[in-house]
């Protein structure tokens, strides 16, 4: 348990360490790594989609496979790439920003990670077990009920597992932020990334249960013969759409708000200027979250909900432009009058502003119901949401990776390669998606396996495909950069950018397992900056050096997850053969047994002793 020496550990010891860790930083990195893996997977699926659509009536892949491809692309990207990477940042960075030594529930944190990972594995195993889900990431009933094979079942259980993990993460972050802020870190001194983590967690808390319910209904219909969506027995498929979008729209803000938080950290640092309109930024974040729950039917304008509902939801949707606008203008005002350095992290942030603004504006256009009757389910919508998701969330993730890489891994990413990657990706991105607005309006619906020859759609689609490959090259350069940096990169100091403002820059890169030897005393917004400006090189401690209490690692989260994983297979295959009920009950027994074990054995953690701490150098 000594932390004084970095003793050489064997491979198995390291593996065991990662399998049992409850350290928020390690889990954060694991989230990011797994998310990156799924991003490449989803990206390859995107490339397959674009190859298929490169020319009219192409037969690169079959119709059924195409539907599997788009479903898996959408599901993987949203649930297993974008969200986990953001949760990874929340895990790794947020506790550092509020001056905490860990999250409130380290055990739950690890459970959440494993549930997410096995959910993703579950979903992707469908490729090898008779076919992937093929009803779109939105899984509209009754198509999803009638979908043959077990693909949809993997979708349902995979999302159910990872959704449970996400919910745990959300609650964990909320409690952490409420109870574990360092002395002096009042709510209105929290960095914006912490704020957006907080608000996104609230969204998770209220949005995911709707998905959980929807998935249960789908699962009961598919696996246990209930009749929620069976019209012959009085079922109603519109219920699924409501449940999905009650979750689905807040979900897009779960994605974008943390990205907003990341930009709100980066832009001030590289403008050397405090964030303009901090209070209104916080307020706007809450307003977006609040309004986010009242707009979901804008995905259902064509369902036939009636003019009153359509009009109300149209107004709600457009209203979101206002708080988002506040944010955009505050960022611009932060740049204004600053002293701007443009490096890779900043490039991604600057690329974000115009790209996201375009995406947001097409969002408002979609919100105008009458026009949406034309846009709906066409490539215009595809263009809209890739503009906000890629131009907002993915840019945010990449900006955050460049910005926090030194903090996470102790090395600064290579600048030259960072810029090359940016330009390839940025140009490819606009090439791919800008043209799609027009394709949509020219009569190309989305989820089309082929488009016909002679309908004026050929050139646009070709351009789009070329763009996608440029994005692929950009991503590859980034991956090479990561490898290169890991091998050759220079070591980073505590504050490699020189202008760090928040607490994470006041400690070593990467931080010690206990983060702060002494909890820092926070004297205002941007605490580290304040200390630097007043001539102190570092934070004033709020307490003397004391023993630090640490939680014990545990293998139970992994075992519990494996239990649920096995049980999921039981659920899926019991329709074919009753023997699978053994897997169902066996898996459940493992999961519940490890839960019981957890609650029966008191875990008091351990202490890092004062004497050892004093030997440490910062």
């Amino acid at each position: 348990m000594s932390i004084a020496s970095t003793q050489q550990k064997g491979f198995w010891a390291i593996l065991w360490d990662y399998l049992t860790t409850v350290d928020h930083k390690k889990l954060g990195n694991m989230y990011i790594a797994a998310g990156a893996f799924f991003f490449v997977l989803g990206g390859i699926e995107a490339l397959v989609i674009r190859i298929q659509l490169a020319k009219p009536e192409n037969d690169f892949i079959s119709a059924g496979l195409y539907n599997e491809m788009i479903t898996m692309h959408g599901t993987t990207m949203i649930f297993f790439a974008a969200m986990p990477i953001l949760i990874g940042f929340m895990n790794a960075i947020m506790p550092l920003q509020i001056g905490a030594r860990d999250v409130a529930f380290p055990f739950l944190n690890s459970l959440g990670f494993w549930l997410f990972l096995f959910g993703g594995i579950m979903l992707n195993l469908s490729w090898f077990l008779g076919g992937a889900p093929d009803a779109g990431w939105t899984a509209y009933a009754p198509l999803s009920i009638q979908s043959p094979g077990h693909g949809m079942d993997f979708y349902i259980l995979g999302l159910q597992l990872s959704g449970a993990g996400t919910l745990m993460g959300g609650i964990n972050f909320l409690v952490t932020i409420v109870t574990m802020r360092a002395p002096g870190m009042t709510y209105m001194r929290m960095p914006l990334f912490t704020w957006t983590t907080f608000v996104a967690s609230i969204l998770i808390l209220f949005a995911f249960p709707a998905l959980t319910v929807g998935l249960f209904l789908l699962m009961f219909d598919r696996l246990f013969g209930s009749a929620f969506f069976d019209v012959a027995l009085g079922g109603n498929s519109v219920i699924w759409q409501h449940l999905f979008w009650i979750f689905g729209h807040p979900e897009v803000y779960i994605l974008i708000l943390p990205a907003f938080g990341i930009f709100s950290e980066i832009i001030p640092v590289f403008s050397r200027k405090r964030l303009f309109g901090y209070t209104s930024m916080v307020f706007a974040t809450f307003l977006i979250a609040f309004l986010g729950f009242m707009v979901w039917a804008h995905h259902m304008f064509a369902v036939g909900l009636g003019p009153t509902a359509n009009a109300i939801f149209a107004v709600g949707t457009m209203a979101i432009a206002v708080p988002t606008g506040i944010k955009i203008f505050n960022w611009l005002a932060t740049l204004w009058g600053g002293s701007i350095t443009i490096n890779s992290a900043m490039l991604w942030s600057l690329g974000f502003i115009p790209s996201f603004t375009i995406g947001g504006m097409t969002g408002v256009m979609l919100g105008a119901t009458t026009a949406d009757y034309q846009y709906h389910d066409t490539y215009f919508v595809i263009a809209h949401f890739h503009y906000v998701i890629v131009g907002g969330v993915v840019f945010g993730i990449l900006a955050g990776l460049h910005y926090w890489w030194p903090k996470l891994f102790g090395k600064v990413l290579n600048e030259a390669m960072g810029k090359i990657a940016f330009w390839f990706f940025f140009i490819g991105f606009h090439l791919t998606f800008f043209i799609q607005h027009f394709l949509g309006l020219m009569g190309m619906p989305r989820r089309y396996w082929v488009f016909l020859e002679g309908q004026g759609l050929d050139t646009g689609n070709m351009i789009s495909t070329v763009g996608a490959f440029l994005m692929g090259i950009g991503s590859l350069v980034f991956i090479i950069n990561v490898v290169y940096t890991t091998v050759k990169g220079e070591k980073a100091g505590n504050d490699p950018w020189g202008d760090g403002r928040s607490l994470e820059w006041s400690i070593s890169s990467p931080p010690k397992e206990y983060n702060f030897k002494q909890l820092p005393l926070v004297r205002g917004l941007d605490p580290y900056w304040i200390e630097k400006m007043e001539g102190n090189k570092k934070m004033t401690p709020a307490q003397p050096v004391n023993d630090i209490h640490m939680p014990n690692g545990s293998i139970l989260p992994l075992i519990m997850t494996i239990g649920f994983f096995i049980a999921s297979f039981g659920f899926i295959y019991q329709v074919d053969n009753n023997l699978w009920l053994i897997a169902l009950f066996g898996g459940m027994a493992i999961a519940l047994g490890s839960m019981l074990a957890r609650s029966l054995v008191d875990d008091y953690g351990y202490h890092i002793h004062k004497e050892d701490l004093e030997k440490e150098v910062d």
Partner: protein, 351 residues
């Protein structure tokens, strides 16, 4: 970097211009050249919104560009610390208020048009057609006229037509971009919307809600003809005799095969309500085969022998005995004789 930025801007602009030059896509498919009431109303809102958006975007980009250029850290400024501005209430109020105003400008006409397009006051005295989406074809039932047909819908020009849309299986969505926006075809209810076409012509319709493997092949057409032609068509369709003798012997053979192989069990000819498969009354007058292919003899024979090759996952595959090439040819000949109306897509002028 600025140099780069300029190049990219130029590139994007170039792309944009070339697009505008390439017109707005294919006539009678694009939503950008509306020839019907719904599409026109949508277009108006689109134009209003795009004007607002361009204005907003220009402002954002102006501030953005100036900020990046003017406030770039220059040589010798390495230790310069700019003023740490907390905020500015006046500015913040301005950029809250202006978007609110813009949003209201967009919201008000949106609300009015939403109610306008949902108005069904004239439903009882207008032509009304029951539209049913099926995997992967469309059925049209002119309930007042007792006419059944599939794939090609005939309507008179400049006339409000009410569509009662539902689905026989999964959710589909009825979309004819040039005439009107979409309406979903749900299995559990009937949605009503009206369309009105301003010009004669054949308009492409597409299914816009994922409905299975052949979702992208579920095209249909609206054939807009003059009022007289429409009346004529109704007349012709009503007087079709499903039992009429085909002209040639091989067509007669085809008819027998059609009946013997229980094709007739799914495909009605005439006004029979049976609608497991498309109604074939005026099959030979169709614009396309199966919605997407040229209606030629060869294509039809291929389709009859192996529909799966054209439309994966369709409901016809495997539901009838395998056909030899000869048998398929006879049936094709029979089907291509089903041109019971003088009114066909050519009457609509285009194509």
């Amino acid at each position: 970097m600025n140099r780069w930025m300029g190049k990219i801007k130029a590139l994007i602009l170039l792309g944009f211009v070339s697009l505008v030059l390439a017109a707005c896509g294919k006539e009678n498919l694009t939503a950008l050249d509306p020839k019907g009431y719904g599409a026109e109303v949508s277009m108006d809102i689109m134009i209003l919104s795009i004007i607002i958006m361009i204005a907003v975007f220009v402002i954002v980009m102006l501030v953005y560009t100036v900020a990046i250029i003017r406030f770039r850290r220059k040589k010798g400024q390495e230790n310069y610390i700019p003023k740490q501005v907390e905020g500015n209430h006046k500015l913040e109020i301005v950029w809250t208020a202006i978007p609110i105003v813009l949003v209201i400008i967009l919201a008000v006409p949106t609300i009015f048009t939403v109610f306008d397009l949902a108005d069904d006051a004239d439903a009882s005295e207008s032509i009304s057609i029951d539209v049913t989406g099926n995997q992967y074809w469309w059925h049209f039932n002119y309930s007042n006229e007792e006419i059944q047909t599939s794939q090609d819908m005939y309507i008179p020009v400049n006339e409000k037509v009410y569509l009662n849309i539902d689905s026989a299986d999964v959710i589909h969505s009825f979309w004819v971009p040039t005439i009107s926006g979409k309406m979903d075809a749900n299995p559990e209810n009937t949605n009503t919307m009206y369309i009105e076409a301003y010009e004669e012509g054949v308009y492409w319709g597409k299914c816009a809600e994922l409905c299975g493997p052949s979702h992208s092949l579920m095209d249909f057409k609206i054939v807009v003809v003059s009022q007289e032609e429409y009346d004529q068509w109704v007349e012709d369709m009503k007087s079709v005799d499903p039992e009429a003798e085909p002209e040639t012997a091989s067509a007669q053979e085809g008819k027998d095969l059609f009946e013997a192989n229980s094709c007739i069990g799914c495909h009605a000819i005439g006004s029979s309500p049976s609608a497991v498969g498309p109604n074939l009354t005026n099959f030979a007058n169709r614009t396309t085969l199966a919605g997407v292919e040229d209606l030629t003899y060869e294509n039809l024979v291929d389709w009859l022998m192996n529909p799966e090759a054209l439309k994966p996952g369709n409901k016809m595959t495997g539901n009838y005995p395998e056909l030899s090439e000869d048998e398929a040819s006879s049936i094709a000949e029979y089907l291509l004789g089903l041109d019971h109306s003088e009114i066909n897509p050519e009457s609509a002028g285009n194509e």
